[in-house]
């Protein structure tokens, strides 16, 4: 398939806020179930092992008009919960048999309880993860949390979720993670071949496709785009961070690129790259998932940094690994986790002589000109600085 077609398919998936793919997947076999999850991370392996489709719900973007959702939130709360409620009350996600709300912030946390009240016939769970990373402390607690999810989903599926089911799912997701790592490595190596506006869509497709299919899609995209050489520009290489939950509109990502930045790493859809390497397949599957979470997972604002010197390490490593020249901090308005993290990260970047710029967005931001201008000035300053 040509790269254009692949991207078009991903775009269609991205724009389909009635989740037809999910409906089709369910209709293909009677009794199939789908479970939604919000950012940033849930162990999708457990959902998959129960024979269900994990579906990432990342708000309504700039494509839906939020009418009812606004009646649930004051003006000073970010947008993703209101557009998610809009998806819920308008029946767009009624194909989901359940929803998981990961412990990312107080807004999503409270949304879990609102969902329990508003969608009484659905399975709803607040999915807590440990902030203590010792095996016998946080690990044991986390294994127990995962066991509850496993039991609940088994009940919903009407069948046991065996260790072997879990191992097979871990294996499949390991392949998906590998494909995602390859995609990010490829983009960092040849960002002109894999613009982030495309990589974003290819990744986002993983929120609705079964993992096997998504892995193939990622592989196909890398092969297809590599076969069609594109023009290389003298852009500034940047890491984009702060957008781990509410998503910037696609137009904003395009604007940053058009302004002269190559995004070589980002924190969109972290769930696809949460586990930094393969999760061990042999042995106790829940413990393997737990250990990967505790010791080998991505860092983000909603995770506690045990020591002062750990703060910013992950971002610095991303800058180093992907050869970035600067950092764009793009956070959703009213996003406490991102905005409270921001001064700490900016200070650390400054200490390391890494240029940065910061702005806020909402998922329905329409005015791109100021952001394009800011990103353009930033790209120019990086270029000037590196030329000096």
């Amino acid at each position: 398939m040509a790269v254009k077609e692949i991207v078009k398919r991903c775009e269609a998936l991205f724009e389909d806020l009635h989740f037809k793919t999910v409906r089709d997947w369910k209709a293909a076999q009677p009794g199939r179930k789908a479970i939604g999850y919000m950012p940033i991370y849930v162990p999708r392996e457990i959902i998959h092992a129960a024979g269900m489709l994990p579906v990432g719900i990342f708000g309504g973007g700039d494509q839906i008009e939020v009418i009812q959702g606004d009646a649930y939130y004051q003006s000073y709360i970010c947008r993703i919960p209101r557009s998610t409620i809009e998806l819920g009350v308008t029946g767009r996600i009624d194909c989901l048999d359940g929803m998981l709300f990961p412990s990312i912030c107080d807004v999503i946390r409270n949304l879990s309880g609102m969902w329990q009240i508003m969608f009484k016939d659905k399975y709803v769970r607040y999915f807590d993860v440990p902030q203590n990373y010792m095996d016998n402390v946080g690990g044991e607690y986390y294994v127990h949390e995962m066991q509850i999810l496993r039991d609940d989903l088994a009940k919903l599926a009407g069948r046991e979720v065996t260790d072997d089911d879990l191992r097979a799912s871990i294996q499949l997701y390991n392949e998906n993670r590998k494909a995602m790592r390859d995609l990010y490595d490829y983009r960092a190596e040849k960002p002109w071949q894999a613009p982030t506006s495309e990589v974003y869509l290819v990744t986002r497709a993983g929120m609705v496709l079964p993992p096997e299919e998504h892995t193939q899609l990622v592989r196909d995209y890398i092969a297809a785009t590599d076969a069609e050489p594109r023009a290389k520009r003298d852009n500034a290489r940047v890491v984009l961070t702060g957008s781990f939950c509410e998503q910037p509109p696609l137009g904003l990502i395009k604007s940053i690129e058009m302004a002269g930045c190559y995004i070589v790493d980002d924190d969109f859809h972290l769930v696809t790259r949460w586990n930094l390497d393969d999760v061990v397949v042999d042995g106790d599957p829940l413990w393997n998932l737990a250990k990967s979470f505790l010791h080998r997972s991505a860092d983000t604002s909603s995770k506690y940094s045990m020591r002062r010197e750990d703060k910013g390490k992950f971002l610095l490593e991303s800058v180093r690994k992907y050869g970035a020249e600067g950092v764009v901090f793009a956070a959703a308005s009213f996003c406490d986790p991102a905005l409270l993290e921001r001064p700490m990260l900016l200070e650390i970047l400054k200490k390391h002589g890494i240029p940065s710029t910061a702005f806020k967005f909402a998922e329905n931001t329409g005015q791109m000109a100021p952001i394009r201008e800011q990103a353009g000035t930033f790209a120019d300053s990086i270029k000037l600085w590196s030329a000096a």
Binding site: Q74, I77, R109, G113, D128, S333, D336, L339, K360
Partner: protein, 443 residues
């Protein structure tokens, strides 16, 4: 007022009560206690004491006392600065230093205070903490808050992760998770920083004191079930919870304070008296309200006045449960000290899920025979505020009582619009009257 008196002359910084404001004796006493704690903090390093900082919800005061720490509570510092009209500048200083206008103003007031040389609410300089005990019960912002403080001061931090009651209950795994963190992470860190060995019997002893104070506090808060209510459970309530939610839970001073307070309040019940307000005793109780959400501190007295001027008394509030929910039976248990600390943290109000919060408010409306619910939605605080509009509708539906919604902020004076709030309250009181008339017509 009751004639029962407590000798507060031993407390430093005691000033005679200003004549233009009326308070119960216990209210003065609590003020003395809080001021005395600021003085303790100010001199702590000079007298060789280590200093801890920790948050109100899920605070482990008894445990910190086992290591002889002087105890600072940054939220209390922020609110005290708010009441003394100092927080506005602090917040703006923090914003100028790169903190977003969108985030919790408690955090910014604290960081702004640091930038201004750590001059505390009473004018004495507060020390840099030797340890930050980060127990983030019921709010993620706490975690960022202490990460920010740590980044600035490089002080030792110990984290106690308290899982959220997502299912509306506490399971054994959650309790054990907290207990293990106490044993393996928190206690060893506190031992190391303080140089004091942990003695569980000392903890038990403090907990015995806590229980006494908890018992009396519950009696005080529940006195509002009487008609007229002898207390205001929100505006007055913040004075009542002061000592037990901060550095005093587990101390004999707190036990004494709560027993005096209880005595005063029981006397008011006997005399069928209404609450004491800054302008004197409230004589006619016209409206009985339940309030959800924290108060505004920067215009605290003006805000309160809008209620008592119209004869509105708050009979129950959720804010008076942020530092511990005691009215449904929980007490610190000296026989199971660590488990009980865990259950305490797990049970604080903002760690309850939405259906639990709604149930609790409906129960208050019923048991305290309230006319309705008022939500003071705080711009700063996602933990409280996200979802309150649904809460309002659900509670109205379930109780059939009218509810109203106002918006303000904790310590940012820019978000307190006196005229708007007053208008809103007045229409709300009218709504209650209408509802009463309608009900009377039906019966």
């Amino acid at each position: 007022m009751s004639t029962q008196k407590v000798d507060t002359t031993a407390l430093p910084g005691k000033k005679p009560a200003p004549k233009n404001v009326q308070k119960e004796d216990a209210m003065w006493l609590q003020k003395e206690m809080i001021n005395a704690n600021y003085h303790d903090l100010a001199i702590a390093h000079d007298v060789g004491r280590k200093v801890s900082a920790t948050f109100v919800p899920g605070n482990l005061n008894e445990l910190l006392m086992c290591f002889d720490f002087a105890r600072s509570l940054p939220e209390t510092n922020a609110l005290q600065n708010g009441m003394r009209k100092k927080s506005g500048k602090m917040i703006m200083d923090a914003e100028r230093d790169g903190h977003s206008e969108d985030v919790c103003t408690y955090v910014k007031a604290d960081l702004g205070m640091m930038m201004g040389g750590e001059i505390g609410p009473t004018g004495e300089k507060l020390p840099v903490p030797d340890v930050l005990l980060l127990s983030y019960t019921g709010c993620f912002t706490f975690m960022k808050w202490f990460e920010l403080v740590r980044q600035k001061y490089d002080c030792e931090t110990t984290m106690l992760h308290v899982p959220y009651q997502g299912d509306g209950k506490i399971n054994e795994s959650m309790v054990q998770y907290v207990v293990k963190q106490l044993k393996e992470e928190v206690i060893p860190t506190l031992e190391r920083v303080s140089g004091v060995k942990f003695d569980i019997d000392r903890l038990r002893q403090y907990m015995k004191e806590s229980t006494k104070a908890e018992e009396d506090l519950v009696a005080v808060l529940q006195s509002a079930k009487n008609r007229p209510s002898p207390i205001d459970g929100y505006f007055g309530g913040v004075y009542y919870i002061g000592p037990i939610f901060t550095a005093f839970r587990g101390t004999p001073e707190a036990s004494k304070f709560y027993s005096v307070l209880r005595g005063e309040i029981e006397e008011r019940v006997r005399q069928k008296k209404g609450p004491v307000t800054p302008d004197g005793e409230m004589t006619e109780e016209k409206y009985r309200l339940v309030v959800e959400g924290p108060p505004n501190w920067t215009s605290f007295r003006d805000f309160w006045k809008m209620f008592y001027e119209d004869g509105a008394v708050v009979v129950a509030s959720t804010y008076s449960k942020v530092g511990g929910v005691y009215d449904f039976g929980f007490r610190h248990n000296p026989d199971e000290p660590l488990e009980s600390l865990a259950r305490y943290c797990l049970g604080c109000y903002t760690n309850l899920n939405f259906p639990q919060r709604i149930d609790m408010i409906c129960k208050y409306i019923d048991e305290y025979q309230a006319d309705g619910l008022l939500i003071n939605s705080i711009k700063s605080c996602n933990s409280f505020s996200a979802g309150q509009l649904l809460m309002l509708r659900e509670i109205e539906k379930r109780t059939g009582k009218p509810a109203a919604f106002i918006e303000s902020d904790l310590v940012d004076p820019r978000y307190f619009s006196s005229a708007n709030i007053k208008n809103r309250l007045e229409s709300y009181f009218q709504m209650i009257n209408q509802k009463r008339r309608a009900t009377a017509a039906v019966h």
